[in-house]
Symmetry: C2
Subunit: 784 residues, 2 copies
């Protein structure tokens, strides 16, 4: 077990590397050439434009002003605090602002906890001094002297820990309650102050029944005209464009290659580039690349056109789903919250997500299939969480030298080399695990997609939930109970309900040093890496080198990324769990958590202001999940403390702890009924208020024109524009731009589309399936 | 352990006693004097009236026609099958018809299960013959030779049991699905074919905020006029009449005593009755009873009048609850299913229960209090289920002779008498338990009331749920694991998750004979007692002897009772559990369950046709609960089989069983999403259809008049009638009588009220808090 010195060394290393990363960041971010890596959000919001106009030569790429380096290193923290919360909401959306409030919540909970724990629990623990009296052959670390392990079994001092557990629970609950209240208020206020948005008037209807002799469109029209006569406006059919989108994507890939070879040819006009057309360009006939790709694009163009015709003409291409728009927010709120049909599996209504938040592929899943998908995915997640070590061990055993030699005997001479052998033995097994952990978030996201949720925001929340379970079992419990998750499962099943928290509880103080180093590596140095943005930096410059020809390409190469809730929420929840579990047991861990919260708060605030670009606006829809998982952490901490104390013969105080979980569960239920409706439903009072105000201020609003085509599959937006350009005219009168991004679009023919981007026509066409396509081509007016 | 002969003897005794009860029933029911005990429902529905006109003398009371006795004994079963389901729905309501379908479901599940189990499993078990080879010192019963215990550990024959477990689960699930579908259809059809009812237009709103300077009525009017401008009609404020109702009840009690003494005086005019006015009439001054009660009634009359004035004038008497009525079913459906206010704890809306189903006392509970109440009640139910033996043991130890002698030494001479001593020792401990079990349903109902549900139907469902938990732990598990529930709890907590089903599973076959005798006593003889109606018979004749003066009193003495869902649902669920658990393990138990289902079906069908009077109509709202508890039984049976097989070394087959619970849980989730909305929500399609039809058929309907006062507290109905008689005039034009009972009312002055009962005025005043008052005075037009 690590001693205080070991911890200090580890802290020193981690702080040093964090400072190193920050220094690198300070140097890199003042280089003009990196400007689009470190300030993409400012470009997107039009607060910064290409700097080339003002500077010349090398100055365009490198910064020689030494003073600016010093400023750069010192100033990012003050810069991160520059904006007020209101400005952040305007600048980066409510989701980002609410995300930052998680760190504030962490500070609000843990600052008082840390102070009181250090002032009360540590003196009590230290002065008990049991461990010092013990024989020297059991080596206890210094950290343990500060922890509850130092208190004599049966001591009356456990009353102090008991009281502190109560105080901590009360304080945490109080803070959680206040913050939930605050976030719910922010959400309602945001929704109330929003300008008109298409999703306020739109409901997505799934499982429209197929009535023979009628088209889906007729059925939908008839049903809603009958059942919502005063409010129904129109609807937008959903086309099965997955095949079409695939063709378009395919064409885009070919277009990229064509561009690449054309540039190659321009740079070196003597030699026409050629390539092989077989597998991965490794074999097959050698052809002229430019000609070849041009031909293939031509073929594809024809297929795209015929597919488009097919979608428009074939009634089967219309899915039994529709975006139904209403004449008032009240009508939409009513339709979204009520049951429509006598058969509860038909005409399922829910609020439409924002157009850019829609995950189009999942719109066509029928009811029975949905329920089977969820069953399969829950079983898969369970297996993934508990049995993920099995395939990895298998791969590792393959990667093992003997295994490798057996599988591929021809490699034997290479493997037998001493250097390579030791490298493989030391590295390969770890690599398999590393690769698995790296692709895990992607796997979880795919699983969530299979589950059939309709919006990207819901998908991110579901993926975050799965990741949380994985971390809870494999990082938290896995570190405490040694052994694989499968062994843990075996252990859980074969232990009694009282024995489990006892065994885990007992080993908790012993693992404090491990979690301290974990926090320093993952929470301190890891966060510093986040601000450095190594991966986007490398990719941007690679793209810049090989692909970028125009400003548009440079925009395209810029990858602002997003907060990444699906990974960051579970990580944050893990820190809350660690803090709450160790608050009473080994309070010396708390300052480490605190440093993480402060540092990560600054880094993410800075990144949100300068880097990340919001993909969608869910108005803090993730908060109920965060809240309930922090409450679950509270419960876990109480049960483990109960288990720990029950081994300490503190017979007077332990039974009193049983009340805590009961109260905590009740608190959770109360919060759920008190606040959750604000995140799930849209109150009629609110809808009516906004309707009335709008009617008063804009009596002549042409709502139908405003809502038309808002929920058209993004792939059609462009084509419709060509063929139905005229009907768009009246829409421009409404001229409302809801989100800040004006025009992200992926198109069959880029050259064609970007003619449009300078016209104001697209301002409200914010619907983009950002998930399906290669990096979206953001187009900004100020830039072209 | 009981042998086959013991079971046969027990069966013989129970069948004999069941026949005895049925004979007694046959004799008693043909006596004209018992007519109102055995046919109250026919009186209520007007299918039978007082028989005295046609007969004279002793014939009025006793039947001397011997032929009729024989017919009576033989004919009740065919009589029970006389009505079709549609007729039963008309005669006794949908709840009763759906309740009977539970027995049908039982038969549908268990007839094929019994046949296949007897044909397949029993031969397999018998031919294995392990137990016969064992030494004779372990005495196995004959029953065990038919059970799974007879199969050798590790035998391949367990594959048969495994397959049967799958087949049984599939069959049960299929039947459950079909029946859920059927019941949901019946419910929707019933709701669709119902005539206009006030609850279709009414929503109950709780937690109306107190806005200073405005009355509750103004606030409600303003809010709904603003947010439901097209549909809001009016609202009915709710007065806090609990105190008023108490006074009225008090007066009624005094009136009863006055009546009693007046009759006494009439029968014996020489001596004016006197009574003591102290504690329970045992001590205090002796006064003239008639004078005394008249005086007290006078005093009370004044207090009632002043309380009435106070309620009408004091704004604080108006509770922050309102029954809001809408101009269309659509409007009400929308309001009931949506969130109204930005603050989700205010303006909580839900469907109003039928007026006669409203539990008035709970209307005034605020949101925070509700959530605290539920916490307290869940803790209490938990303690009641697991620790109920503690107080009983305490009482028993008191009732113990030494204890009694210590507490009350003066009783020693009496106790020391041998006869009394043995009586006390043999009887008292059992009596304490018996009394507890007798009052248990009442206790559970009180607990449900404290939880704050708004309707009697919801209260019955909640009480049924609590009773089910009690039976599951104390009857089912309590019989399998010997020992008190507290010991079981200790056992559960200290055993591992795999060990629990194993231990229970192993003891299951051994308890088969116990449950067989339990089914015979409780399910065969017990059901026969139900048809005999001993308690109502005795009470009716006692009342007839002492109180009844007029026909009205005779009506009042008649106690039709109701199905009693809160006790009968859990009992039925227990039989489903026993049948499913033993289907694979000891299939010989199944015929016993089958006999119960057939016999109880006949008895309850007969009773529903002739005896029980429906208190409210919930249109089968209990079915989702029943369904999910049968699914839970299925799960329990699978887990226990898993536990049992895991001790039998059937290593090949056991792991395959794990899939079953997973599939069962999925089946439950699917059914829930597929059918439950039909029981919780009201589809807009349906509402719109009925609105449209009504508008077409009755274009001039005065809905406001029809809905006015429908949800007035029943205690005011009478008073309003005096003071506001004129505004009722237009309501009589609507002249709709929804339920069959026309006028149950408890009143401050009975003499006064019954003047009204012959007028048609009250026909739609079906609102009665039947729960709060002493037996309601049913008034039937045909009878007076």
């Amino acid at each position: 077990m690590a001693s205080l010195e070991d911890i200090a060394v580890s802290a020193f290393i981690n702080i040093l590397s964090a400072i190193g990363f920050l220094l690198a960041f300070a140097v890199l971010r003042v280089q003009p050439i990196n400007s689009r890596v470190y300030y993409p959000k400012l470009y997107i919001n039009g607060l910064r434009s290409s700097p080339r106009g003002s500077m010349n030569g090398v100055l365009r790429f490198v910064n020689f002003n030494i003073w600016s380096y010093i400023v750069s290193f010192l100033s990012w923290m003050p810069e991160a605090l520059k904006m007020s919360q209101t400005e952040i909401i305007q600048h980066a959306g409510l989701d980002s602002a609410i995300y930052l409030r998680i760190y504030i919540l962490g500070l609000k909970i843990f600052v008082p906890l840390t102070i009181s724990a250090l002032l009360v629990i540590i003196p009590v623990n230290v002065s008990s001094g049991t461990l010092m009296d013990l024989k020297k052959d059991i080596v206890f670390s210094d950290i343990d002297k500060l922890s509850i392990s130092n208190v004599k079994p049966g001591s009356e001092r456990f009353w102090v820990h008991l009281c502190m557990a109560y105080i901590f629970t009360l304080w945490t609950s109080y803070m959680l309650y206040m913050e939930y209240d605050n976030v719910a208020f922010m959400r309602l206020h945001f929704l109330a102050s929003q300008h008109r948005r298409v999703e306020q008037f739109t409901v997505v209807v799934r499982n429209v029944p197929q009535i023979s002799g009628h088209s889906i469109a007729e059925t939908v029209d008839h049903f809603f005209q009958k059942n919502h006569p005063d409010h129904y406006l129109s609807h937008q059919a959903v086309y099965n464009a997955n095949r079409f989108a695939k063709l378009v994507r395919q064409k885009e890939r070919l277009q990229n290659w064509l561009d690449y070879y054309q540039i190659k040819f321009e740079r070196n006009p003597d030699q026409r580039p050629t390539s092989k057309i077989g597998f991965l360009g490794l074999c097959g006939r050698r052809v002229d690349s430019i000609e070849y790709y041009r031909q293939r694009i031509n073929v594809l163009d024809k297929r795209i056109a015929s597919e488009h015709q097919k979608i428009i003409k074939d009634p089967k291409a219309i899915l039994p789903v529709a975006f139904v728009t209403f004449g008032s927010r009240w009508g939409a709120a009513v339709c979204a919250q009520t049951q429509q049909s006598k058969n509860p599996t038909l005409w399922l209504t829910e609020w439409a997500p924002e157009p850019r938040d829609v995950y189009w592929k999942n719109l066509a899943i029928p009811f029975v299939s949905l329920s089977i998908r969820r069953l399969i995915i829950s079983i898969s997640v369970f297996s993934l969480v508990f049995f993920y070590m099995i395939p990895i061990t298998f791969v590792q055993s393959l990667a093992n030298l003997e295994g490798l030699e057996k599988v591929a005997p021809f490699l034997r001479p290479v493997i037998e080399l001493k250097l390579i052998k030791s490298f493989l033995q030391g590295f390969l097994p770890g690599l398999a695990l590393k690769i698995f952990l790296y692709i895990l978030p992607t796997v979880l996201m795919i699983m969530s997609k299979v589950e059939g949720y309709l919006s990207l925001s819901a998908l991110e929340r579901r993926a975050a939930a799965k990741y949380y379970y994985f971390m809870l079992v494999n990082v938290f419990l896995g570190s405490i109970i040694a052994g694989t998750a499968f062994e843990q499962l075996y252990y859980f099943v074969h232990q009694s309900a009282t024995e489990i928290p006892r065994t885990i509880g007992v080993s908790i103080p012993m693992k404090a040093t491990f979690f301290m180093t974990y926090i320093m590596v993952d929470g301190w140095a890891g966060v510093a890496v986040e601000i450095l943005r190594l991966k986007p930096l490398v990719i941007y410059h690679l793209k810049n080198m090989f692909i970028v020809k125009t400003d548009r390409d440079r925009e395209k190469a810029m990858d602002p990324g997003s907060i990444g809730l699906s990974e960051n929420l579970p990580t944050l929840q893990l820190y809350f769990l660690l803090g709450l579990v160790y608050a009473v047991v080994t309070p010396i861990l708390l300052p480490f958590v605190l440093v993480f919260f402060i540092f990560a708060f600054l880094v993410y605030r800075y990144q949100i202001m300068n880097v990340y670009n919001q993909e969608y606006e869910s108005a803090g829809a993730f908060w109920p999940h965060l809240h309930s998982r922090i409450v679950a952490s509270l419960l876990i901490s109480q049960l483990l403390l109960l288990g720990l104390l029950s081994t300490k013969k503190a017979a007077h105080s332990t039974p009193l702890l049983i009340i805590l979980p009961v109260l905590t569960i009740w608190f959770h239920k109360y919060c759920k009924s008190r606040f959750e409706p604000a995140f799930r439903k849209y109150p009629l009072e609110e809808a009516m208020e906004k309707d009335t105000m709008e009617k008063a201020s804009e009596p002549n609003l042409n709502l139908k024109a405003y809502l038309a085509d808002a929920y058209l599959h993004p792939i059609f937006q462009m084509l419709e524009d060509v063929e139905m350009g005229d009907i768009r005219a009246d829409k421009n009168q409404a001229n409302v731009s809801s989100p800040q991004i004006t025009e992200p679009i992926s198109t069959p023919s880029p050259h064609y589309v970007f003619d449009h981007s300078s016209s104001p026509r697209y301002q409200y066409d914010d619907d983009e399936d950002e998930d399906d396509y290669s990096p979206p081509h953001y187009v900004y007016h100020h830039d072209i």
